[in-house]
């Protein structure tokens, strides 16, 4: 059973003082001129559902300038049921977030992020194009975020793995600079490999499934050229311990760990061409969208729930045929909230089945059902 948001209240969130958005199942279009708060509203929905901002690791930025806390409250409905739960997040910079589901405190942020709100989201912000266009770390982050949102055990392993690698790196530098005898290097290797294997195995299991969904989405969005995702290993599961041991002297010299899932990458290919290096802007954008839809399908398959799609300014830069395909995807979702400056991107048939949310200067002006174009 899938969940969607009926309403979201934003208090001191970005440019909102206190506003409530009433949301519908299916497609919701947030419309407004530049710099009015469209992106901020989508961010607030993700913040409420996942417990953190998908846009920035510096979360004090989401608190309205001049305010000392922010709070979001959502009414979450289960598809096909009258049951509703209320989920609230209060956050004052420097303090722990207060997360409550129907008044009861959530146990931990990791557990909450992995579906504690009862709903899930897949987000697209224009900057996400870096998943295809950007550095290996952007792609790893995409994979890790997806798997972490489904499996708290993966989330914990990935976090602890990063800590273990940081410890090992520091040890390598201490050995190089003569501050450590290196007696504990084998121990840190073992710790790193234990955790790294969980991360690697998780990614290995996910990738073929994700690739199938990616191919399907890109075929619809782009065309019949053969798409592929190819994982690039610094070491496979079988070679991992051995490779790490063999890297000892080189690692000591460099002061960093050269082998492991924190060094891996994946290639996004279309017709055999690597889109990171050779893709056009439009191809990169469509491949990013296809990855996001693949993430949606992956979540659907893994937990049997349809995540809420939050797609920011997604229609711009796309030609008409592609916009139509996308609108179709959104309409068949349990819930999609997308933003645009221009309702002309949508035809009347789509708008008739859509809730329109008009935004101006951090206020939600009106919500209209069968979208009247104005």
């Amino acid at each position: 059973m899938s969940a969607y948001l009926r309403a979201l209240r934003l208090v001191n969130f970005r440019n909102y003082v206190d506003a409530t958005a009433l949301l519908a199942p299916g497609l919701n279009i947030v419309v407004g001129e530049n710099a009015q708060g469209k992106t901020n509203l989508l961010e607030a929905i993700a913040f409420n559902v996942t417990g953190s901002s998908p846009r920035t690791p510096k979360e004090n930025e989401v608190v309205r300038w001049g305010a000392d806390f922010t709070r979001t409250e959502a009414r979450v409905a289960l598809d096909g049921s009258t049951d509703e739960r209320s989920v609230a997040i209060g956050y004052a910079p420097g303090q722990k977030k207060r997360i409550t589901v129907d008044g009861a405190s959530a146990t931990s942020l990791t557990e909450y992020a992995a579906g504690g709100a009862g709903a899930r989201v897949v987000t697209f912000f224009p900057d996400d194009i870096r998943v295809v266009k950007g550095a290996p770390s952007d792609r790893r982050e995409f994979l890790d975020a997806l798997l972490s949102s489904l499996r708290p055990a993966y989330a914990r392993a990935a976090l602890e793995y990063a800590k273990a690698v940081a410890q090992r790196n520091q040890l390598l530098r201490r050995i190089r600079d003569g501050f450590s005898s290196g007696r504990t290097l084998a121990t840190w290797d073992r710790k790193v490999v234990d955790l790294g294997k969980t991360v690697l195995a998780g990614r290995e299991a996910a990738l073929p499934v994700l690739e199938e969904h990616f191919k399907d989405s890109l075929r619809t969005l782009y065309g019949p050229e053969k798409a592929a995702i190819r994982y690039g290993y610094s070491a496979t599961l079988e070679e991992y311990s051995e490779a790490l041991r063999e890297a000892h002297s080189a690692d000591v010299e460099r002061g960093t760990t050269s082998v492991g899932p924190h060094r891996d990458d994946f290639e996004v290919l279309l017709g055999g061409v690597n889109l990171t290096t050779f893709g056009s802007q439009g191809q990169q954008r469509l491949a990013t969208l296809a990855l996001k839809f693949a993430a949606r399908d992956y979540v659907r398959e893994a937990v049997g729930e349809d995540p809420i799609l939050l797609f920011d300014d997604v229609m711009s830069e796309l030609d008409e045929r592609r916009r139509e395909y996308l609108a179709g995807y959104f309409l068949e979702s349990t819930q999609a909230v997308i933003s645009t400056t221009n309702l002309e991107y949508f035809d009347d048939e789509v708008l008739r089945r859509t809730r329109i949310i008009r935004i101006s200067g951090g206020s939600i002006l009106e919500t209209a059902t069968d979208g009247v174009r104005k």
Partner: protein, 199 residues
């Protein structure tokens, strides 16, 4: 920053050196002391002095004690064939309260952490190995914190004693990962003891 009379400033400075006490709390505590009764303040000062003068590490297990050896080491009813290895003296209290464990302890004084510059030589690992040799220990239960540094320390110790005739076990999972022993509740900790695993 407002400035106060020198003794007040000094008190605030000393207080803010304490863990989890920032300048604001330090100031609040200082003024609480100034406002309060003189006997209370002197009581606190004497308690601080006494603890530094009288408390020292147990020469066997490095738990805190007033005597040469701590009460646990001196207790003839304890099972001397088992040693539970912890990071800090305050990890002993929670384990004692589970009533699951009747052996001895060994306090390492921290955990391996290159990021904090902590090497095996900075911990009481050599002393532990010495004890295993001399006391004919049959089992080491490693109860370091269930986080990265604690677990690395456990692995290292297991490695160091692997040629000695001692069984090495670790607490069963069920403890919150990434957590501290200090905060584990008694039931969870008790279960972790009952289900300890070979390391």
């Amino acid at each position: 920053m407002a400035t106060y009379a020198r003794p007040v400033e000094r008190l605030i400075t000393e207080l803010s050196k304490l863990p989890s006490i920032g300048p604001r709390s330090a100031q609040r505590i200082a003024f609480h002391v100034i406002r309060g009764k003189k006997e209370d303040a002197i009581g606190l000062a004497e308690a601080l002095k006494e603890v530094k003068e009288k408390i020292k590490p147990c020469r066997r297990c490095f738990n805190l004690t007033e005597a040469d050896e701590c009460e646990i080491c001196r207790d003839a009813r304890r099972d001397r064939s088992v040693i539970c290895v912890v990071e800090d003296p305050y990890d002993i209290g929670p384990i004692e309260r589970t009533n699951e464990y009747r052996g001895l302890y060994h306090v390492l004084g921290g955990a391996l952490s290159p990021l904090d510059g902590i090497e095996p030589e900075d911990l009481r690992i050599a002393e532990l190995i010495e004890r295993v040799r001399n006391e004919g220990t049959g089992e080491l239960v490693i109860a370091t914190n269930p986080n990265t540094t604690g677990e690395a320390t456990a692995l290292f110790i297991a490695q160091e004693v692997k040629d000695l005739p001692v069984r090495v076990t670790a607490l069963a999972s069920g403890l919150p990962v990434g957590g501290d022993l200090e905060y584990a509740d008694e039931v969870t900790l008790g279960r972790a003891f009952a289900g300890r695993r070979e390391l």
